[in-house]
């Protein structure tokens, strides 16, 4: 395996800055890796080889000309296919947008391009971000590099798999119910859901507008922080964007430290349904934190058990409205003949997959006259109660911790026909999305049962994203010391170094 692909983004950046390697070489190495393994991993829907090399060469010219370059210059980044990008298709994992090339660029990918990052391709995802395994993609599922028969998580499964398989050091994802953190956990990498409003949604195709949060994937805490910082910040094109400085996440990632930090273990995130091996690694991580000087207590958040039902009312409701625009009139698939009404209905039936249809119907139901108060309205009230639970908790502790997801990567096909079982993957991640807080998934070991990765979830109040990185960096460093190497070194098969 080419050394270049196992280097972290931070290491690559330093090497390029020192003139040890060119951006073109770095990009070429990753393109070669993609060519070698992606037929098995299937992380990518589109590889932008020519454009990527052009971007890399541009960075090299600028460096030669002595222009100042940022930390991501020349670093390849894989982009979840939910972001609109110029010069590359954007499908959102759906047949209804197959081949669509948006005439505009998302704010985040624009910022990354301006920072010199190399957008290497678009990654696979559950259709319109609805799912926890990428099995809902209209173009086939992605595979977990740790074990190709297992799911890479979802909905940002392609991005997580790409990073875990060394196809790119960094990747963009979005988190609405856990769609960054859960794939990160089951793929053994780091993934963050920033504070809602901390990263721009302009150009990010909407699933559930009040929950969607673009965020970073990396193999290390520092790498995730570098991407987090580069992609975040106020955007006047997004009314829900927070006008405040980006929390100092990179600095925090460089100074992992939990001495004196008050950590709360969420009582409700344990018990039945949690794989023993996952709980074991989680418990060890908590003990580790304590040994590093943190003060650990148990905190009950009584309304968290209503988070899943509330989420599966709010998200589909907003989605049912957000997806109404896909009707074959202005872009994308147009199927069938007849009147406009008929063509719309036939197009949507042909273009959307089963899960999307399910959620559209569910959302339409929850918003219907006569049902609104009991369903959508009630769910929004539960949301308030969950926010209050968090507020009360953060009044006593600085961060909350829990497992990221109850199990390790499950087998492809196991839950594909069982929506309710699939939804359970989001149990621990959903409350953060409802409240708009920030949370990170950092690898904390392998489950004994199957040797597959588990993640530790750290949750912080809004705009305290740096706190996540401080804790995650401490855990990462301590675990590496305990194991003698980063987690990914344990991987077999495709993720093996």
């Amino acid at each position: 395996m080419d050394e270049l692909i196992t280097m972290t983004a931070a290491e690559l950046s330093a090497a390029m800055a020192a003139g040890e390697v060119s951006a073109a070489e770095v990009t070429t190495a990753h393109l070669d890796r993609i060519a070698a393994v992606d037929d098995k991993v299937r992380a990518f829907l589109h590889v932008a080889a020519d454009e990527a090399l052009a971007q890399a060469r541009e960075v090299d010219s600028k460096r030669q000309a002595g222009e100042p370059l940022g930390p991501l210059a020349g670093v390849p980044v894989a982009v979840k296919d939910l972001f609109t990008t110029l010069g590359m298709p954007t499908t959102c994992g759906s047949k209804i947008l197959e081949g669509w090339r948006p005439p505009y660029e998302s704010t985040i990918t624009r910022r990354l391009r301006d920072a010199g990052a190399v957008l290497i391709g678009k990654t696979n995802m559950d259709e319109f971000a609805m799912g926890s395994s990428t099995e809902n993609s209209g173009f086939g599922a992605s595979h977990n590099p740790w074990d190709l028969d297992k799911v890479p998580g979802g909905s940002s499964g392609g991005s997580a798999a790409a990073v875990a398989a060394y196809e790119a050091p960094l990747a963009l994802g979005t988190d609405t119910g856990g769609s960054i953190r859960q794939p990160a956990a089951v793929c053994g990498i780091v993934g963050t859901k920033p504070t809602y409003g901390g990263s721009s949604r302009y150009g990010v195709v909407a699933f559930a507008s009040s929950l969607d949060t673009p965020g970073p994937f990396g193999r290390t805490v520092l790498d995730a922080a570098l991407l987090h910082e580069a992609m975040s910040g106020h955007d006047p094109m997004d009314s829900t964007s927070i006008d405040a400085p980006v929390p100092p996440v990179v600095e925090a990632a460089r100074h992992g430290d939990v001495a004196g930090l008050r950590i709360g273990v969420v009582t409700e995130f344990s018990g039945d349904g949690y794989q023993p091996g996952v709980m074991a690694r989680f418990t060890e991580a908590v003990e580790l934190l304590e040994s590093l000087g943190a003060k650990v207590t148990e905190i009950s958040c009584p309304h968290f058990k209503y988070a899943l039902p509330a989420y599966y009312l709010i998200a589909p409701s907003e989605a049912s409205s957000n997806l109404a625009r896909f009707d074959g009139m202005r872009y994308g698939l147009r199927a069938g003949t007849g009147s406009a009404e008929e063509v719309m209905a036939l197009t949507r039936a042909a273009g959307f997959g089963a899960e999307v249809k399910r959620r559209i119907i569910l959302g339409t139901y929850a918003l219907s006259s006569g049902y609104y108060d009991a369903y959508y309205g009630k769910a929004q009230q539960v949301r308030t109660l969950i926010i209050r639970d968090f507020d009360a908790a953060f009044g006593q502790v600085d961060v909350l911790v829990s497992p990221v997801t109850p199990t390790t990567a499950f087998p492809l096909g196991e839950r594909a026909d069982d929506p309710m079982a699939m939804y359970l993957a989001d149990l621990c991640t959903i409350p953060t999305d409802l409240a708009g807080n920030a949370a990170i998934s950092v690898p904390c070991g392998l489950a004994d049962e199957d040797g597959l990765p588990a993640g530790l979830q750290v949750m912080a109040p809004p705009l305290a994203d740096d706190r996540l990185y401080r804790v995650a960096a401490a855990v990462e460093a301590a675990l590496e010391q305990r194991w003698g190497h980063p987690l990914l070194a344990e991987a077999k098969g495709l993720t093996a170094k």
């Binding site: 302009y202 150009g203 907003e318 409205s321 625009r325 719309m344 339409t364 219907s368």
Partner: protein, 494 residues
Amino acid sequence: MTVSYEAALGRYEPVFGLETHVELGTRTKMFCGCGTTFGAEPNSQTCPVCLGLPGSLPVVNRVAIEFAIKIGLALNCSIASWCRFARKNYFYPDMPKNFQISQYDEPLCVDGYLDVAVGGKTVRVGIERVHLEEDTGKSLHVGGATGRIHGAEYSLVDYNRAGIPLVEIVTRPVPGTGFLAPEVARAYVTELRDVLRTLGVSDVRMEEGSLRCDVNTSLSARGSSVWGTRTETKNVNSLRSVERAIRSEVARQAEVLDDGGRVIQETRHFHEDTGVTTSGRSKEEAQDYRYFPEPDLVPVAPAEEWVKSIAASLPELPSARRARLIEAWSLSELEFEALRNAGALDVVEATIAHGASPADARKWWLGELARRANDAGIDVSELPITPAQVARVAELVAAGTLNDRLARQVIDGVLDEEGTPDEVVAARGLAVVSDDSALLGAIDEAIAANPDVVARIRSGKVQAAGVLVGSVMKATGGKADAARVRELIMERLA
């Protein structure tokens, strides 16, 4: 139709309401920076936001909020201290997102009123709400006989107008106007239009669609306090149509009720050519719009200071102006209404400012000039004559340089763009002949040519002098002061 409007009024009480949509005259659209100029090339004023492209997001135009608050204040509404936008969900090709961003149960302005004067009486029309929303694109329907949807083979959609800011103004139902319902409704729309024009928030041209009215009508049995089922009538594109639509609906509903039937709650379409309404979409299968708060926009909470400063900046509203001018010009309500209906208030006021008397200013603008404007199919304000020039003509008449007849010719000259009044007087030689000696020649000729008339005058039939006056006026090309000519004739024959 077998039931006449008058007959219907004998048995029923009409109740009406109006929903008016106003296109705001902002430079850019409601949620994006695209331009709003009318008549641009198709799909040349669009962006990802107003096209509703996947991933796009709306951002509220601050001036649209300001304009809506202005309208609310002018209509005596309370301005919400906190409100949200909401999504109104339904599928239609001219709506790029298949939902419209509007306001539902939290409108920006509520509980106001507008007083309208009809036949010398004041009717207070309650305003239930004023809210903001975005307009849709426009479609051309191709293949059908009339260019309308029915029978069309396909449609062509232009999204230039998608996202234009609209303000929706909804009245409370207006009962108790009896047979004057159509006039009151028309007066309301007229007054509303004047208020909006005065505020400068829209060019309010019904013909161009920047002011659109839907009329709601229902009937209750005379003496009953129970209101009937109401229908909504769309495609009401002029003030006159507002009146005719109500008249037609009242008569139609009366006939249905007289026959023992039931009025169906539905949307009807008004036809300009026939003056009647036809059935459109039945509101009993009412659309479920599944309103919910717009998650891509944050609440609007206008600061008290902002609202106060907007209130302080409001121009003189039509009602205040009416009161002021009635007093200043000593007008009756009806006289004022005549001026207002002729669209002549501004020009009359300006003419008076240039020195003319109120009576003179009114006389010319409501008389000769209104007639000329009508013939040309334009507003009096669009005539190629300025208030200053009209004031000058009035001045010349008062000074005796012109008589009425000559003054009309001078006005003709100005309208035909021959120059200013003084230039026209000089070029056409229109001044009244004021030199008696110049007249005496013509007078002597008339006397010589009409001996029998002279005889009658001398025998005491003084009024016969009119013939001689006419003769002299003709001979001088109308440029004599008729009264002076008569005097001179009588002196001559004495």
